[in-house]
């Protein structure tokens, strides 16, 4: 532990003791990892059950809530459909979700120490304000304040992809890395970036817009106004549209489109090939610019991952410059519960920071 933190052993003792006394850390033994010689180390482990957290992720039609422990393990997950997208309705649904999860927490006899909320769009985490969410059609909603009043809990609010990235950084595939990217494939194509050990937020609230990198200036038009954005080729809507055009089958959604491709329909498979190519190029662009140690591909689109995996890999290998190709590109299934877990992770983060004072 001292080696990892770059501190002396004495400093570790002094830092750890109060945490053990407060019950956040417990001593542990691992007979397996004992050295051949000398006194074995005293292992400590975070006692996850010492405090609970709630994370809420708001999508277009559902609010997803999870109850997690201090180690961000999901204990209970709940989904409630949204009746409307205005702040009042969303807040009411979220409060309902929190109430249910608080009852679960009561059953465990542990207090809930914080609530994290994740919303897509431009979110000012420090102020807890949703500056602009195109998806929910919100502008300057002081969500943290409103949610704190409604629930009585300390609230953190963050952009959903950033929250997911925080969860990966602290508890997922990004642990110990100083630079990595999380790429989410689904309705939109998003990206969370960690550089120098911190999540990139962008000067004006914009960062990680991998979905709007142009991969083909002659490609299909995107809702952002440009042509050939990654999202205009590989987003769910784009895939549905292209599969319809290529096969003539009026598929209703991405699941049906993937079904056609899985059935071996050539036109549909080609759409996924192009999509994989676009995503791979987008990832290569991130790798060429930032040199991350790892790229984690995730999102609902992962359900159809076998359809574009090879194309992502090929396009990445081709477009990555020099050693950037050595970046570890891997997938990780992260369903919506995991996004809510990301929200909880931001709450845990701010709980730890506040306690550290």
């Amino acid at each position: 532990m001292a080696r990892r933190a770059g501190l002396s052993a004495a400093a570790v003792t002094k830092a750890v003791r109060p945490l053990i006394e407060a019950g956040y850390l417990v001593e542990d033994v691992d007979e397996g990892a004992r050295p051949a010689l000398g006194r074995p180390a005293n292992l400590v482990r975070v006692d996850g059950g010492r405090a609970l957290f709630i994370g809420v992720k708001v999508t277009g039609d559902t609010a997803i809530g999870v109850l997690t422990d201090l180690c961000c393990r999901i204990l209970v997950a709940r989904h409630i459909p949204l009746s409307a997208r205005d702040p009042k309705a969303v807040l009411g649904t979220a409060a309902e979700l929190v109430r249910e999860l608080l009852i679960e927490a009561d059953g465990l006899g542990v207090r809930v120490a914080g609530l994290g909320m994740a919303v897509s769009g431009d979110v000012d985490r420090a102020e807890g304000v949703v500056r602009y969410s195109p998806f929910l059609e919100w502008r300057d909603v002081p969500l943290a304040e409103l949610a704190a009043m409604a629930t009585g809990l300390p609230v953190t609010v963050d952009n959903d992809v950033r929250a997911l990235t925080v969860a990966e950084q602290w508890f997922g595939a990004g642990v110990g890395l100083s630079g990595f990217a999380v790429v989410t494939v689904g309705a939109g194509i998003g990206c969370g970036l960690v550089v120098h050990g911190k999540v990139v937020a962008g000067a004006h609230g914009v960062a990680g817009e991998i979905g709007h990198i142009t991969v083909d200036p002659a490609g299909p038009r995107c809702h952002c106004g440009n042509r050939g954005c990654v999202e205009a080729i590989a987003g769910d809507d784009a895939i549905v549209r292209q599969v319809r055009a290529a096969t003539g089958v009026q598929v209703a959604d991405a699941v049906e489109a993937a079904g056609l491709a899985h059935d071996g329909v050539t036109g549909a498979r080609e759409v996924y090939a192009r999509a994989g190519d676009a995503i791979g190029r987008g990832i290569a662009t991130v790798a060429n610019l930032l040199g991350p140690e790892r790229v984690i591909i995730s999102g609902e689109g992962l359900a159809a991952y076998d359809l574009f995996a090879d194309h992502i890999r090929d396009a990445f290998a081709t477009a990555a410059f020099g050693s950037a190709a050595r970046c570890d590109v891997r997938t990780r299934p992260l369903p919506f519960d995991e996004w809510a877990r990301g929200a909880a992770a931001t709450a845990i983060q701010s709980f730890i920071r506040s306690d550290a004072n």
Copy 2:
């Protein structure tokens, strides 16, 4: 000063006094900036003349050396043509350059406190080793050690674009910004990135490869093996090749190509328009991913900047997503002397760090 550093006034006093006693800071007065009320502040200023530094930038055919003061102001600049590109020849030329500059420093009666060297390619700054420079055809050259033996000075070695970025961060248009990009246009298209206040180095030595972002998959082939990289459209070689093809005139270099365009030859102007478009898209990609506060466009290519300025601006405005377009894109002429100054900046940086111990 206390407010800026987030420290108490008392801490500033204690930090500043030894620096004044050592002569690195001197008290100053600024009658202009006196407040209406109360005791005016004691201003301090870095005494640039207290220590000198040498920066050397190695290009394909020349070694450029500058002597700077502690404020990184260039006092003397010298150029020596390179006879060959192997480490021995380059080192000999660099040592010659350093000798000349040391004589100049002697004339000023101030000691030279460090030497910085900037080389293109994959450079391990911490170890002072040039891992791989395609341009010089070097592999694993321990340049810092060799140069230290040859000159007797403490040596820092860094990638040339990163060094230029450090100079901008400390002494140029990046002062006070936590995130910005330096884009260099010339023989190659390079990019130095600062995120969270630190220069991005990349996990495998690759970062900022804006030149190899694909802007047109159907575009001309690039030496990296792909098609339609920014560099394959807007690099000097690419421009010369395209101007020749478009006009039939066998221009010898980028200067002649720019001459044709300045004369109003349509084909040549169109080449610059396409180049500007490619650069603008590349910058937009950086802005979409990282949300920098500013982008500084520079490099030898700036000499022809009027030919693509509008196209860069237009392409950026179109391809930037949402508030990313609010990023401040500006130009700054940075001739090769400035790259050498960047090398000196890295030396100053490590001098300050070592002294702080």
